[in-house]
Symmetry: C2
Subunit: 368 residues, 2 copies
Amino acid sequence: MKLQIAKASLLEGIQIVSRAVPSKTTMPILECILIDASGLDIRLIANDMELGIQTLVPGMILEKGIVAIDAQIFANIVRKLPDADVTLTVTGEKVQINCQKARFNIPGHDGSDFVYLPAVERKEEIRITQYSLREMINRTIFSISGNETSGMMTGELMEIRGNTMRIVALDGHRIAIRNVELNESYEDRKAIIPGKALNEISKILSGDTEKMVSIFFTDRHVLFSFEDTIVVSRLMEGEYYRIDRMLSTSYVTRFSVQRKELLSCIDRATLLVKEEDKKPVILMITDETVELKINTAMGSLDEVIEITKEGPDLNIGFNPRFLIDALRATDDDEITLYLVSAKAPCFIRDEAGRYCYLVLPVNFITID
Amino acid sequence: MKLQIAKASLLEGIQIVSRAVPSKTTMPILECILIDASGLDIRLIANDMELGIQTLVPGMILEKGIVAIDAQIFANIVRKLPDADVTLTVTGEKVQINCQKARFNIPGHDGSDFVYLPAVERKEEIRITQYSLREMINRTIFSISGNETSGMMTGELMEIRGNTMRIVALDGHRIAIRNVELNESYEDRKAIIPGKALNEISKILSGDTEKMVSIFFTDRHVLFSFEDTIVVSRLMEGEYYRIDRMLSTSYVTRFSVQRKELLSCIDRATLLVKEEDKKPVILMITDETVELKINTAMGSLDEVIEITKEGPDLNIGFNPRFLIDALRATDDDEITLYLVSAKAPCFIRDEAGRYCYLVLPVNFITID
């Protein structure tokens, strides 16, 4: 095999597919990137069996072939090459990487053990902009559970209803929901996609509002196709939580507040909270102000913020981390919190229904 | 005690003195910053018994007093305050920090246990620009030994001879020397300053070519005074290595090379070297080129660079790390390496005598 590829293109390709290279595996071949130049184009592929990524790299095939190269070494070498054309020459299991006067020799592996991406039939295409998909993921993914044993909570629900796409993430203490209107209507469909796959895909998406992503579902897989890249992820099996019954639009008290002001105040409060202790931040909501209080072994903080309120006064406690995550997930200058009681969930949502963040309160002992 | 200080000034002061706060100590009071406002100015002080830093902070003393506050908590809180005036109020051992509508309460400590900086008599002042002192440190400090048991190798020699200051660092495998001309002549003097102190001071120095540092030595301490800050470090006891006998100006082969080209080539070679294995990079020096080779379990690299050479051909091996450090420590576009044999030290030095980096070669088995 002999290929000639511009360094920048090769590096970009390696960086894209590397997101599917597992850090630990019992199958060493999966720690490799497969270069498949057996056809008319140069494909880089990586696959950790849950998530697979394939991308095309522009370049010249001087001699066809296939080789697998350790992803880490390959990425490190290419990153440090001069910005010029790179020639890859494979002889048996030896890979020579030439770039200007530098000549690297590293071992290659026979590609025959490598697991290609599963075949996903491309029918019933759903289209969304790269920007929207990335935002939907980034603004919900923090609410999935990081605990690998918590099953479906480690994934996100992606649901299509007519011309709306909804993404839901929850971890038992909070729910994050984002809705976006699509340009066309589609048949209803839903699937649970592993959080890891969504996380990686959100890092590859360009965030361009003009460029589109095509999404295809089968019973067991989802395929995202955009530009020269395809990402295939397994779906999680089972029925997702019935969240609609948890979402209520009725409230007793609601208040509007400058988002950044509330955010930096809660952010300050977290200074006094150590990882392990679960001290809540208390919001004492009165007519024109909310007083935030936190009291830990390290000290206490007390701060007053102006608000616009409707309904009776209320004292309520939250895990400050959860409020911060929800507040960071919107760009609105002013946000509105909807509350029922000190023991009922708090909702942060906009009137247009683009987002809804539910945070469960934390019990707290009355403070003076 | 009651003080009013602009947030930015307070934060800057805390960040300066925090460099002398030990991360681990058997004396908890040393993990504090002392705020001494018992006189006419507001002083922040930290001291780990080897290194002490004191800085003045502009502000208003509404009520005099002294308090010690945990450095970490204090820094974290002040960093996150709004950019406005901060009021510190100490009542007994309670510290209240007010800034706009935020009110923090944290514990304070009685300052009576705190160890102030040792008194250093300010005579025989030596003056150097902040820029020069910082450069002298940054461009030699990588050559000290990181192993705390290696005694004087963990420090740097600072030597004044007439109007020249010389700084020397060595770790048994290499020597780094920087010379700078001072504006005046001083009495000869030398001292060994702990590397840690120099590292910290280099981070506080502004790098301004107009602002000066005053240096004062006693038998046991060195004091650096600049702007509103004083840094006092213990000196290391003993006689420094007699390096002059190790420095020779005779050579057999010398070659000049584009520094950045050589640097990025050796940098690429290190990709193939794991921390633990000590594979040398081999330089095969011929009339118009040097060929760099490295060969490890991960693979091999071979690269050719153009040079201008005098003297016979030579093959020599180096720890690539040491060459990289020395090459990064100068700004010259072209540098010259002076060599005697494959077993003798290599010198990288300039004609003006501003710098001299000595690197010992590594034995290597002849490679094809």
